[in-house]
Symmetry: C2
Subunit: 186 residues, 2 copies
DNA sequence: TCCCTCATGTAAAAGGTTACATGATTTA
DNA sequence: TAAATCATGTAACCTTTTACATGAGGGA
């Protein structure tokens, strides 16, 4: 089983979805930290079906094309439950902007300021979106959050997403400021 | 040009290295946020050579096999300088542990505590390593850090690495605590 | 009329990991 | 004697991205 397979099971464990809906969900990263495109999702769903981890039924529609709605099976739920807490290596992160920062000493200062201010903005925007989601989650789910409710899991991943975007946007701002100050010092 | 190619140029812009040395460097993530294995590095160096972005000379050794020491060319340095501040999309992060957290509501609480305490520890260890590196960098480079010095770039990436590991380890601890508290509440 | 959304796929290419392959020297 | 380090590569495989492919219905 691939990680993508478990990502799909993780969504289907909450409620049934069609391949198209799963693809929509995974445009914006699920749990803030995973994404996939439809070209990867459709074949993966076929594999999950072949392994008996999901079923699908054809839902006929008048005004839109028919769709296959996938449901997780008890076997799928078991596989997911086992995977969630299985031993795991620390995943190594890859981030191109930070890799660039490693060679930033070569850069044109004005171009560096522009790049980092742009990314600061984008991460602030993502932060605002996550905060809005959190707000919504708090209103809907309230204090009834228990560790065995899906809302709790969503809240947990959102919390890291918010911390991450806050850290990242502040780092971008700080880097930009270093170049701005160096510029006025000359 | 691939991102890996620029990662290698970024190291070679600082000082010459052999393929083996580059592979050693990229076991631990360069700038905290990129890594690669030797099987990817050797072919990439050949491509950089073919494009005239690096040169290499054979250094003969008595007690070890001979090695090819790579040096960046002016064209390589130019390409790197351009890439560093070129427009770029926000890279989407992938993190398996956070993806698992999204389905944590299904998990066995004790297994969840074990997993997150384990990862908390590992990220704390990485944090300590980064802090030691920062300490060393401060002592060596001191306050002379200017935006156009490689030490400044190293410092900038380390700063994010430290922030990231601190955030991540605290998040792991917090998640584990949620399950520990839920456990005693029953 | 043209583009967007809904809906499902396949194919080719790129990027990355694991395993295969070789061989000398040093350390336990 | 066995394992680790130094040193350089290739091959097979897996994952992910980009592009190809089709087609109906609704809105500008």
């Amino acid at each position: 089983m691939t990680t993508l397979g478990y990502a799909l099971l993780g969504l289907l464990a909450r409620e049934p979805f069609s391949g198209y809906e799963l693809a929509q969900k995974m445009k914006a990263p699920i749990g803030c930290f995973w994404h996939a495109k439809h070209s990867q999702i459709y074949p993966e769903l076929a594999k999950l079906k072949a392994q008996g981890l999901v079923n699908h039924e054809l839902v006929e529609q008048q005004e839109h094309p028919d769709k296959k709605v996938y449901t997780i099976t008890p076997a799928g739920r078991d596989a997911l439950r086992q995977w969630v807490t299985a031993p795991m290596e620390v995943p190594h992160v890859r981030d191109e902007l930070v890799l660039r920062a490693y060679s930033l000493w070569l850069a044109d200062p004005q171009a560096a300021i522009l790049l980092f201010r742009t990314h600061e903005q984008r991460h602030v925007e993502q932060l605002r979106r996550y905060e809005a989601l959190q707000q919504k989650l708090m209103e809907e789910a309230g204090a009834k959050q228990q560790v065995d409710s899906p809302d709790f899991s969503s809240y947990v991943t959102l919390a890291l997403g918010i911390g991450y975007e806050r850290l990242y946007s502040e780092w971008c701002r700080w880097v930009a400021e270093q170049f701005e100050q160096a510029d006025t010092t000359l």
